[in-house]
């Protein structure tokens, strides 16, 4: 794809650089949010309800007169935390499970893979709903639920990669030296397994943000008055006719973030593993 394009010295795909710049900018805004927000994101101002975008309120105000721009800025960190946190959880559980299943084979593998089969017998959103159904909702619970939902795919990928690598000569050599399971998995397999794992991780962040914001859109994430973007979009629904900016501002921000993160993921895939092109989603 981008192989024919004149690329910088490190030959990074142009998509990757663009995506990284946009994600970096959003992350910076999210980190600085509380300081650069023009108003208190939770402050009511009943005299300024449902005002259209203006010089005073760039993205308008909501039904309580809260400044939408300030809320979008202060809510940005939720989405980023969801993407990064949930993916980290799925990696932390999935990768060890996959490596152990591949290394041990036999009934260990059987038990792990059957549990994984069970977890994917519900579609992602439904599994998330089930996990969140009986607990008090909140940001960290949503992150945990999304992380658990994506454990199976991480386990499967790391198992497949490890199975491939276990038949390599350098693993044979380590075994012949009498190295233990821990050494072989952590020192021999893991360092060689990272390219496909990194690609999957990067692509997974997009879906983690999507799923997390969908769950909080359904009311199973951070609770009001939190300014999580999915929640803000849900809360804007009664005012969609008279004040569409309340939902459009967080919605378009979310789209921008998702497209940028996805671009980074695809850029990494082009860079590290061109064979995987066209996979993903879900």
């Amino acid at each position: 794809m981008s192989a024919t394009v004149a690329t910088p010295a490190h030959r990074l795909p142009r998509t990757l650089v663009t995506g990284l710049l946009v994600v970096g900018a959003i992350a910076l805004l999210a980190a600085l949010g509380p300081w650069i927000a023009p108003y208190d994101p939770d402050a009511f101002d009943m005299r300024a309800r449902l005002q259209p975008p203006s010089a005073a309120h760039w993205f308008g105000t909501d039904e309580f007169g809260r400044d939408v721009l300030s809320r979008v800025l202060s809510g940005a960190h939720h989405s980023i935390l969801m993407g990064v946190g949930a993916t980290a959880i799925s990696l932390a559980i999935g990768v060890p499970l996959g490596l152990i299943a591949a290394f041990r084979r036999g009934w260990t593998e059987e038990v792990v893979m059957r549990c994984i089969d069970l977890m994917i017998s519900l579609p992602p959103v439904l599994l998330g709903l089930l996990i969140l159904a009986v607990t008090e909702p909140g940001l960290w619970k949503t992150i945990l639920a999304v992380g658990l939902v994506y454990v199976p795919i991480m386990t499967r990928i790391s198992r497949a990669v490890a199975l491939d690598l276990l038949s390599e000569d350098f693993v044979e050599a380590a075994r012949a030296r009498g190295e233990g399971a821990y050494h072989i998995l952590v020192r021999e397999i893991l360092p060689n397994a990272w390219p496909p794992l990194i690609v999957e991780t990067a692509l997974r962040i997009t879906f983690a943000i999507l799923l997390g914001s969908a769950l909080s859109f359904l009311g199973l994430g951070p609770q009001p008055p939190a300014s999580e973007w999915g929640l803000m979009i849900a809360e804007s629904r009664p005012f969609i006719a008279e004040a569409p900016w309340i939902g459009l501002a967080p919605g378009l921000s979310l789209c921008l973030l998702l497209i940028a993160v996805n671009t980074v993921g695809e850029g990494l895939r082009d860079l590290l593993d061109p064979r995987l092109r066209g996979r993903g989603h879900g």
């Binding site: 017998s121 709903l129 996990i131 009986v134 859109f217 629904r237 006719a241 989603h281």
Partner: protein, 318 residues
Amino acid sequence: MGAFLLRRFASLAFVLWAMTVLVFAIVHILPGSVAHMILGEYATDAAIAALEERLGLNDPLYVQYWRWFSGILAGDFGTSLTMDRPAGPLIFEALGRSAVLASIAIVLVAAIGIALGIHSATHVGTASDRALTLGQYFFIAVPEFFWCILVILFFAVWLGWLPATGYTPLAEGGLLGWAKHLILPVSTLVLGLIAHVSRLTRSSMLEAIESRYVLAARAKGLPERTVLRRHALPNALLPAITVIAVDIGILIGGIVVVESVFAYPGLGRMLVYAIENQDLPLLMGGMIVVTAVYALANLAADILYAVLNPRIRVGGAV
């Protein structure tokens, strides 16, 4: 084929049974009393005791599980706590309405997605291919719930062409009234999936077009149409079927969101309702039914795949 089917049905039965254990465990073993959850934190002790008695919550868990599980085997999903009606009929009525959404969506996704993918692959580098590729890129990343808001804003609020929410039964509103309520939910559901399927079809079709058997067919002097239709397309469709099977899971998730936004009385909205109102029989029954439908859909996709690709039956790796 017989052994293949038998194995698949056995694993389906196992998954469904294991799912009943999982759903039951999540609902009952998590901290907090079920009666408390239903009645809220200000309930009196007497009210809680009465409800626990009524629901048989004082029995050991395995007794409760067996009561629920044997009920399901007999087709009895218990009684909805909030609607005071048997949960089974409620669930299946809602499932029927969701199935309408889902089947229209799947047909559209398969037809339009594959057609667009083939068009892109046979017109690589043209303006239409580039526009489609850009579109796919965009549509895959935009969340369904935001599409819902956008289409409501454009078609219901600004243009006023279609109703924003609700549902009219076929018998009451006639074909037009019924269809009007389906157009927006269905189109929101299919946008992302069409992008996904067309993208995958494009890449598998391109791979087929560059293959040796297509080269051989061209070398024989066959007309390009025949080469594409008889040699490239059948091989390119196999991955597309796998993708559509994966997309069924995404579609079910999308249905939950879309039904909630458009106030469409299907199973997805019912599940969200059951969670909001802690209606556990409805929630547990609904989850089991979704699992069953999802498993059957995957089985259907596997069978279709096996029929089209005999290699898989021998290896049995899937």
